[in-house]
Amino acid sequence: MIAHLAKRLGILAASLAVASMVIFVVVEIAPGDPASYMLGMNAQPDTVAALRAELGLDQPKLQRYLSWVAGMATGEFGTSYTYRAPVAQMVAERLQVSLPLALMALLLAMAIALPAGILAAARRGRAADAGVIAATQIGIAVPNFWFAMLLVLLFALKLRWLPAGGFAGWDDPLAGLKSLALPAIALALPQAAILARIMRSALIETLGEDYIRTARAKGLTRAQALRKHGLRNALIPVLTIMGLQFSFLLAGAIIIEQVFYLPGLGRLIFQAITQRDLIVVESVVMLLVFAVILVTFLTDIAYAAVDPRLRRR
C-alpha cells in the first residue's frame, strides 16, 4: 500500500509539474503584451516599459515561471494586471457564486438522475426504462446555454417567477438562490442525463453479480436485493463520475455564466482571457487542473484502500 501510495504521489507531482508548464507556455505565446493592453493604444514606450518592469514581465521567462509556481505552492497566486487585486481574493469572491452554483447543479442532477437510473434498471426493458433512455438521449443532445435561453424565456420573461440574469448577492439569501436557480437547472440537465445513464448501467451490471443471485436464493425479492446489495455497489462508479463532474461544473459554467451575466469563476476566466490578464488565466486554470488531478488521485487511493487487487497495477 505504501509503495502504491508513493508511486501515485509521484504521478501526482509529475502531472502537476507538466500541467503548470503547459499552461505557462500556452499563455506565454498569447500575442498581445499585457502592459500595452492595459495602457491603451497611445501609451508612451517608456510608460509601457515601466509597467512591464512593475508587473515583472521584463524578467526571463524561466524565472517568471519558477516564481509563479513557487507562489502557487505557497498560496500566493499573484496580482491581477487589470483589477490590481490579489488573484486569490478574486477567486475567493467568484467562488461565492460558482461554488453554490456547482453545488446546486450537482444536487439537482443527483435528485433527477439517481431515481431515474434506479427506475430504469429495476424496470429494465419495459416502458419506464425506454422513457428514461429517451429522456437521457435528449438531455445529452441539448446545448445547456440554449436550454438556459428557453428557461429564461419561460420562467423569467413569460411567467416572471425568476430573474433573467445578474446576481443579487448573498445579503438576501433567498434573492441569491433565486438568481442561481435557472443557471443551476440549465447546468444540471446534461449532467443529470449522463449520471442517469451511468447509474442505470452500473446497477444493471451489479444486478448480474453472483452475490445478487445468492441474495435472491436466500429469499430476498428482486427489489429487496436491489436495495440491500445492488445500490451500494453500483454507487461506486456513480460517485467517481460525480466527483469529476463537480470540478468541471466549477469552470464548465463558463458559457452559462455568460448567458446569465453571473460574476462567477467561468466569467472571470473568460474576461481575463479577453483582457490579456495572463496571471489570472494561469492561476485559475492551474487551480482547476489541480482540483481535477487531486480528485483523480484521491479516488485512486480510495479504490486501492478498498480493493487490494488494484494496488499492484
Binding site: 499563455v27 433512455i133 438521449q137 446545448p143 446555454f145 428557453l150 424565456l153 469552470a251 486554470v285 481535477v292
Partner: protein, 271 residues
Amino acid sequence: MKPTLLIGATLTALAFGAALLSFAWTPFDPSAISVPDRFQPPNASHWLGTDHLGRDMLSLVMTGARTSLGVALVAVGIGTGLGVPLGLAAAARHDGWIDQLIMRGNDLVFAFPSLVIAILITAVFGPGAINAIIAIGIFNVPVFARVARGGALPLWRREFILAARTAGKGAARISSEHILPNLASLLIVQGSIQFSLGILAEAGLSYVGLGAQPPVPSLGRMLADAQTMVSLAPHTAIVPGAVIVLTVLGLNLLGDGLRDRLDPRLTRAPA
C-alpha cells in the same frame, strides 16, 4: 433495423443533406438583408421565419449546419489521425516507455477543463473556424488514443497476430494490416460520439463569439444573435437550437445503433 438506428440515420442524413444542399441551393440568399421582413414567424414563404435582419432562417440554418458539421468533422479527423497511431504504438509496446508516456499524457489532457482550454486557444490564436477546429481536435486526440490502445491490447494476444509475428512482420505492419481493421467498428462508434460532442463544442464557442466569424453563418452565433430578442421573436432562438439538438441526437442514436449492430455481445445488455 432497430427503430433508434433508423431514426439516428435519418436525422444524420437530413443534417448532412441540408448542409451539402446549401452549397448548391438555399430557398433564399442567406446573407440577403431585408429589414421590413424581419421577425416573421414561420410562414408559407419563409418556412422557419426570418431573423432580426429579415434573413431567411431556413437558408441560415442550412449554411450554418455546414459550418457546425465541417468543424466537428475535421476535429474528429484530427483526433483519429493523431490519436489512433499513438494508441496503436502504445499497444504494440505495452508497458514500454512509449506506452507510459502516451497514457500519462492522456491522463493529463483529461485533467484540463476542455471548454476553458478551447476558449483559451481560440482567444490566443484569434477567433475563427480553423482555430475552433484545432481547439476541439486537440481534445479528441487522447480519446481516440485511449480507445485504439484499449481495443488493440487484447488483439495482440490473439493467435493470428502471433502468426503474423512468426511470419516476420514488424509491429508497425501488424498494427496497420491486422490490428487496425479489427478496430474499425470501435473507432466508428467513438467517431460518432466525438462528432456530436464537437458540434456542441462548436456551438458553444460560436455562441461566445470565438467560433466562425461573420459573414460565415453558424448555429451558435445565430443563438447569440437571438438572445436579446428571444421575447420578441422566440423562433429566432428555438430554430437554431432545435437544429443542433436534432443533429446531435441523430448522431448519438446512430452511434448507439451502430455499436449494437457491430458488436453482437452488447445487443442483449444495453449499458
